[in-house]
């Protein structure tokens, strides 16, 4: 009881001496923004998510001290905000020109189930990831390829590969069935591989258009 009282008055004192919104923005703004941007791939949405996160943090009952703990706390908040954003997007009707998330046919294969020749012998990928990690052009290309994925497919792939959520968790959060999730992840991987092969690892003719 007494402890509660102390904590409350201490909290209030903090308010009186002035909560410094500028400090939050300076210390965490860029990091939160990048965290959101790499996931939602939309600058406006990422900015809104940062703002929502700070507003939610303001309401937060407990404010942890220390920059690292504070950052961890805010990352925890923005993760939830990102999933809310994905859910909101799922309710919007598909924009024209967007592919449906569940493909009807698999266009990489011949009728007998063999790879089409143009997808069969794709070389040029390195053995190890190391040399690519710091190459800006690679990540830019990946971003371009990513934006070609159908929206829900991109979301589930992000949660699976960037946030390493397991499939059960993703199904629960975004209300998709295991079967559809499997189809979408499979498609995301295949499309990204094809797109990177064409645009970055120097296969196919698509290169010429760049």
């Amino acid at each position: 009881m007494r402890l509660n009282f102390l904590r409350e008055s201490f909290g209030d004192m903090g308010d009186v001496t002035g909560f410094d919104s500028q400090r939050w923005i300076d210390e965490h703004g860029d990091a939160l923004y990048r965290f959101a941007l790499v996931r939602v791939r939309d600058a406006n949405a990422a900015e809104d998510l940062v703002q929502e996160t700070f507003l939610a943090a303001l309401q937060g009952a407990r404010r942890e001290s220390g920059e690292t703990a504070e950052r961890r706390w805010m990352i925890g908040i923005i993760k939830h905000k990102i999933i809310d954003h994905f859910r909101r997007m799922a309710r919007e009707p598909l924009r024209e020109g967007h592919q449906a998330d569940l493909p009807v046919v698999d266009e990489d294969f011949l009728a007998d189930g063999h790879w089409k020749p143009e997808f069969a012998a794709i070389h040029g990928w390195p053995d190890k990831p190391d040399e690519l990690l710091e190459r800006k052009q690679f990540w830019d290309t990946l971003a371009v390829c990513f934006d070609k994925l159908p929206p829900r497919t991109a979301q589930v792939f992000t949660l699976r590969e960037m946030d390493e959520l397991d499939t059960g968790e993703i199904c629960r959060l975004l209300c998709v069935t295991q079967t559809n999730l499997g189809v979408m992840l499979h498609r995301a991987r295949k499309q990204l591989r094809n797109c990177l092969s064409a645009r970055y690892f120097g296969q196919a003719e698509e290169d010429a258009s760049l």
Binding site: I25, R34, K136
Partner: protein, 93 residues
């Protein structure tokens, strides 16, 4: 015929199984079929390698963890910072 098709899945089926295997453990008999196929099929072996590489790239993506300052992505614009600051301050008053 059907048992043969079952025993020797096509590349199309294998590509799906390779993806599934990245998300959960496949039953042993399916794993065996995949392994046998990979022994014989260069295209699927390359595909498998590319998927694995893609995963390790994404998991080591410098921009993934906010703790790492990244030069790859820009931060918030000055305009966005100002807008957010105003929103925060007005919610306080």
């Amino acid at each position: 015929m059907s048992w043969l098709a079952h025993l020797f899945p096509t590349c199309q089926e294998i590509s799906r199984l390779l993806s599934d295997a990245m998300d959960h453990r496949l039953p042993w008999h399916v794993r065996t079929r995949v392994r046998i196929h990979l022994r014989m099929c260069e295209a699927c072996t390359d595909y498998h390698h590319q998927l694995t590489l893609l995963r390790s790239l994404l998991r080591r993506n410098p921009a993934r963890q906010s703790e790492q300052e990244s030069v790859l992505e820009p931060g918030l614009s000055a305009k966005a910072k100002e807008r957010i600051r105003r929103a925060l301050d007005s919610s306080r008053s």
